[in-house]
Symmetry: C2
Subunit: 733 residues, 2 copies
């Protein structure tokens, strides 16, 4: 799955010769003072020893092996990758186990799509197989494998429906509201929406709430096709037949096995503890949906009648986009689509791979790092570029173990399965280990590890500075450190900057901006369900083949990282995150910045409420946030001037302060999400909503703002902040 760290097209002269300095494996001169350490000298030596190990070529070998066959979750090929990863973990000296779960997954048995014009003439029969001309630009040797599943949506029900088509742009809340405001009748119709701007499950979620019959989601060439640049195999962008598969699970409600919200789907979990298929609630898709290529969308879109769409809904296909019939279904001529989806739903076995290195001083404080392993097809970028990097991280840790090193805290490495279906492997494992994870000190995620050279990260505010420091130690293949290259990207790339600005707040002037954690990858159960402080990072590029058959080794070595030097970089970044979090004297959580951000969020909603004429009393809330911030400042000073002696209790309290930000009751209408400060937006899916209880009550979604609910949520947040502040204050008292 993964939220795409997409770096929009930049104006790069293909003629200008870029001289790339391949940095050597030596660490940059280690900083004198590093947050969390009394003295960084010994850690700096360890870092240097570690950094020398991750190997670009070996990462390439891992990637090639992991992606040699389609390995959809629960398939035999998926199990083979689990064995490969487990073997590497063991070889490095990790206590390793393959952990199976039994989860409810759909696999397409039959996908038939047919479109008829207003006269009833068939104008499209699909889906068209993903295919590029084998004789041009090197072709593609992966596309014809018989194990490639037809493109489908995870979590879509079966269905055999016919409906009139309405074009709904990106299918965002704003788009559907526009249609509603225009008086377009949506009931019983099929939405044709394009990918982008929100999580695909949200498109279906809104369509379902509005009484639509089904959804087709296509990839518009304006978004990841020829408008952005040359199409695969000539260039990195999505070709005409390319389809973005993906889950439409309502991940803003809960993630993981749809049958077991909040409960681990262990092999021994009795059927009675699972929701029967007919007992799945409205928190799951009940209308059929399927992804399609622009090849298959074009004949539909081109024939839509009705008014021209708003001009900013126009995509890259060569005609004016119309809305389709705006009248009640059946009352005027309209393009109709017949969707016949037969999904083979079954409880299937998936396999996480878990490797551990026991800590010597505080073994119950886990440092967890993970990446998923399952792919919609080959998954060269998503996820196995991350897996390959992670295996080289493990390689490095293994070398340190051989040299006699042992971490203070326990390191746990997870290779998750069935992430694509809805973060299933990580969610079930998290649910199984919720108790142990309540004192895990961090979860470090990497998913689409490498699709190009542009580093990007998101994190809980308490770890933003941590990520900056780590990246300042790792060399970038483009020269300087990862941090330097990242900062340069943010300064020079308008689009990238705009994107980051949208998600990052409260960051001082000169530093790189780090976004907030939304959802779409495996950090969600750790961070938003059980409260483990988390980071997520990747190295992005012109990744136009996301979730298609073309996200394969051939694409990767042509367009992402031909010499695997960014793989090596990512292995190092992940490794230093793990090493520092496992061995720091005091946990490097920055509650000062956390407090500043929370204060700014509250000022933000207060302003929004006033602007909207909603009465919201934020006096107590703001006071609690300021208290939390002040406590964070005091703790930050203490962290920088550590008293001698054990830091065990100090660290436990630091971790406890994050736990206090959870609300055991969960968010309104989505009890699985416990974090009071961050959640995926109900109507965005990928993107984070801050202080979600208040924000979404004020926003109102498809309905009206709810001032009472907002006030209630403000009280819950006030309590959480006061609880957390109390814990922090106790440290410095």
């Amino acid at each position: 799955m993964s939220r795409l760290f997409r770096v929009p097209a930049r104006v790069i002269s293909a003629l200008c010769v870029v001289s790339i300095l391949y940095s050597t494996a030596t660490a940059q001169s280690a900083p004198q003072k590093v947050f969390g350490y009394r003295d960084f000298t010994e850690q700096a030596k360890l870092d240097t020893a570690f950094m020398a190990v991750p190997d670009a070529k070996l990462a390439g070998t891992h990637l090639k092996e992991l992606t040699k066959a389609p390995h959809w979750a629960s398939s035999p090929e998926d199990y083979a990758t689990a064995e490969y990863v487990a073997a590497k973990f063991k070889a490095a000296g990790l206590e390793t186990e393959i952990v199976p779960y039994r989860v409810y997954l759909n696999k397409p048995k039959k996908i038939v799509l047919e479109a008829r014009d207003a006269d009833g003439k068939v104008v499209m029969t699909g889906p068209t197989k993903e295919h590029v001309d084998p004789s041009k630009d090197g072709g593609d040797l992966f596309q014809d494998d018989l194990r490639v599943l037809p493109a489908f949506n995870g979590s879509s029900p079966s269905g055999d429906i016919t409906g009139e088509v309405v074009y709904a742009n990106y299918g965002t809340l704003a788009d559907f509201k526009t249609l509603r405001d225009m008086g377009v009748d949506l009931k019983g119709k099929i939405a044709l929406v394009r990918y982008g701007q929100n999580f695909r499950g949200v498109k279906v979620y809104i369509a379902q709430k509005l009484g639509m019959a089904g959804v087709l989601i296509y990839s518009d060439p304006a978004d990841d096709g020829y408008v952005r640049g040359d199409m695969y195999p000539k260039g990195p962008y999505r070709p005409e037949s390319g389809v973005q598969r993906g889950s439409v699970q309502f991940i803003a409600k809960y993630t993981g096995d749809p049958m077991t919200p909040g409960v681990a789907s262990t092999m021994s979990l009795p059927e009675s503890k699972r929701l029967a298929p007919d007992k799945l609630t409205e928190d799951n898709p009940s209308i059929p949906s399927n992804p399609i290529s622009y090849h298959d969308a074009l004949p539909i879109l081109q024939r839509l009648g009705g008014p021209a769409s708003p001009r900013n809904w126009q995509g890259g296909l060569p005609f004016t986009y119309h809305l389709g019939s705006t009248a009640t279904a059946g009352t005027s001529p309209a393009v109709k689509v017949h969707m016949h989806l037969e999904q083979d739903y079954a409880i299937r076995t998936i396999w996480d791979v878990i490797g551990k290195i026991r800590g010597t001083e505080d073994p119950d404080a886990w440092v967890v790092a993970g990446n998923h392993r399952d792919a919609w097809v080959y998954g060269a970028v998503d996820p196995n570029s991350g897996t390959a990097a992670m295996l080289e991280t493990v390689h490095g840790l293994g070398e340190l173990i051989k040299q006699g090193w042992k971490p203070k805290r326990t390191i746990v490495i997870g290779s998750w399965d069935a992430e694509e279906e809805g973060l299933v492997g990580s969610t079930e494992w998290t649910e199984e280990h919720a108790e142990e994870l309540s004192h895990a000190v961090a979860y470090f995620n990497t998913d689409v590890g490498v699709s190009g050279p542009h580093f990007n990260a998101e994190a809980v505010p308490s770890l933003k500075q941590f990520v900056r420091e780590v990246t300042q130690q790792v060399p970038s293949p483009s020269g300087g450190t990862v941090y330097d290259a990242w900062k340069h990207d943010q300064q020079t790339n308008e689009d990238n900057r705009a994107r980051t600005r949208a998600t990052a707040q409260g960051v001082a002037g000169g530093e790189v901006r780090i976004g907030n954690l939304g959802s779409g990858s495996d950090y969600t159960p750790f961070f938003q369900h059980v409260g483990v402080p988390a980071t997520d990072f990747g190295s992005g590029g012109n990744y136009g083949v996301y979730h298609s058959v073309f996200d394969n080794y051939n694409w990767f070595i042509k367009f992402a990282d031909p010499t695997f030097v960014y793989e090596q970089q990512q292995a190092r970044v992940l490794g230093l995150e793990i090493l520092h979090m496992a061995d720091a004297d005091v946990l490097p959580y920055d509650y000062r910045l956390y407090g500043q951000e929370v204060v700014s969020y509250i000022n933000g909603v207060a302003k929004d409420a006033t602007a909207a004429g909603i009465i919201l009393d934020t006096t107590a809330l703001l006071k609690a946030a300021e208290r939390f911030r002040n406590a964070g400042e005091a703790v930050y000073a203490r962290q920088n001037d550590l008293p001698t002696g054990s830091t065990g209790a100090f660290n436990a309290s630091l971790r406890k302060a994050e736990e206090m930000l959870l609300n055991p009751v969960g968010l309104p209408e989505r009890a699985w999400f416990k974090h009071t400060i961050y959640a995926p937006g109900e109507f965005t899916g990928y993107a984070a909503v801050v202080i979600p209880g208040i924000t979404e009550a004020l926003d109102g979604g498809l309905g009206k703002p709810n001032a009472t609910l907002a006030q209630d949520q403000a009280q819950i947040l006030t309590d959480a902040l006061n609880r957390s502040a109390l814990v922090l204050e106790a440290i410095t008292r």
Copy 2:
């Protein structure tokens, strides 16, 4: 020709019902105090009498008659329109004459275009005839007239060339510099450029300077085709085969008959006074060029090799735009185009129609208003929507004459010919009457009179307030006054606002912004060659068929102004401009605002020079500008508090102050342009460059900034401002 007042696509719900209030013909309540009048009472009555006359239906009749046949300048059909206009002038009581000139014009004899791919296979044979499906959306009954000339460029030489194609985006200075900076070899190649952002002649001008062999200019669907909205005849935008004809004369050098710069091409002018065709300088196109449709551009563009173009060069066609071969011609496989143009160049007769109403008090002070009459094909919008409105203005003046009214100053109405070829009719007439025009008090232009409901104007700063006052008296068909609707447009239309902001400066907060006069229509000879204060206005819309066969009566009544109420509005605006300028007690020139704008221009270039590290001493210049502004303020106060008695000498001085801003030597490298404050940009053509002598010396064009030249030009401008200030100071002394 005309600069397009194009209002970019707005997000308008086709479902929302817009209730349009058709205002009655009565004037809005007349303002108490109007600039230029001691007492407005009598004028208000006259205005009311005038406003009742212009008739929407009659304007429609004029338009239908004027556009019933293609009437390219010098054609028999063009002469028929001259006779129609002359008859209307006479009927209204104007002293009327048809004034012929003999000018050098080209007419296409043979236009053959052929493209071959890198393997030598023919992939396009053109040009394709402009044509839409007659069976769909009402078809088009005008497209098959045998008198329609094939699409061509006025002023293109004949040529029979073959060259490799390079895509150069809009062909702006910045675009060609980008190619040069990328090391793309341009010598001997053919530029494929798209319409937009500058005057088409500038595209050819730069290509010629860079040693290219020829230019093809096409209309990209992103700019006026399906990306903007539905194509004709379904919608107002340019269809697949639609071509924008047009002159590529280097109008920033000089306008009018290319053989007689600065001299009138009267019937009696001996051949010896005309430049022989082989004596035309580099101020004229020497490389062949031709406009094409996207239908004909597509097969070329789609096959271009080389690197992908910068991503903001991508247009609306369904593939990634590439640059073409970047190597020296002939050294690598490339798409080639063969252009075979046979132009029938000849000295041809054109016909201006001139109508006069003698002034009673100051007959030598001419108030000139004009519009061109010739069209590339039918010219429903460009220019005859302006002609139709102007005839209804004349109708109104005629009624006043019948009622016994006579103007104080002489009114001259011009119906210009061969504007499309390079403002030829107006330029030759201006050159013939340069002496009389040196004390003409205004030139009011209208060209693309009506293509929709969005009023727009440009003016010399001294007449900006005048335009605002006039539009405050005329009702808008959309309710309120023209001024109100115009202001509302500027406040609500982002694109419109951005466009206006780019050209307007020094305007106070709440008022509508009025741009500066560049070029592209008939005000240029009046204002920039002989110094007559001028305005230009139009009423714009979704005008996607500019200079094509589809700019015809059918398009007009479907998409521009079905009931001709905007025609009526424009007739009234033009009429009030004329009446007020002819009868005001004191000329309503606002030198206060003029001075403020000039000061701001000088501060602007001083800042730019500093930023570019160029030493430019603006001390004396700024002092002169401030003197000019201060004198303007004093004069403005006097105009508002007129002493009793004759204003003859006062008015003569007011007019003289504008004349003093001319430099008889003209601008560097383009002596025909005499105005020191405004000129069309050498590299923009349509758009105005302010204080052009300094601005363009600092800019450097294709070369380097020239600080010495800038300083010389600053001295010239200093002298002009001091001269003008001296005249103004004398009034109030």
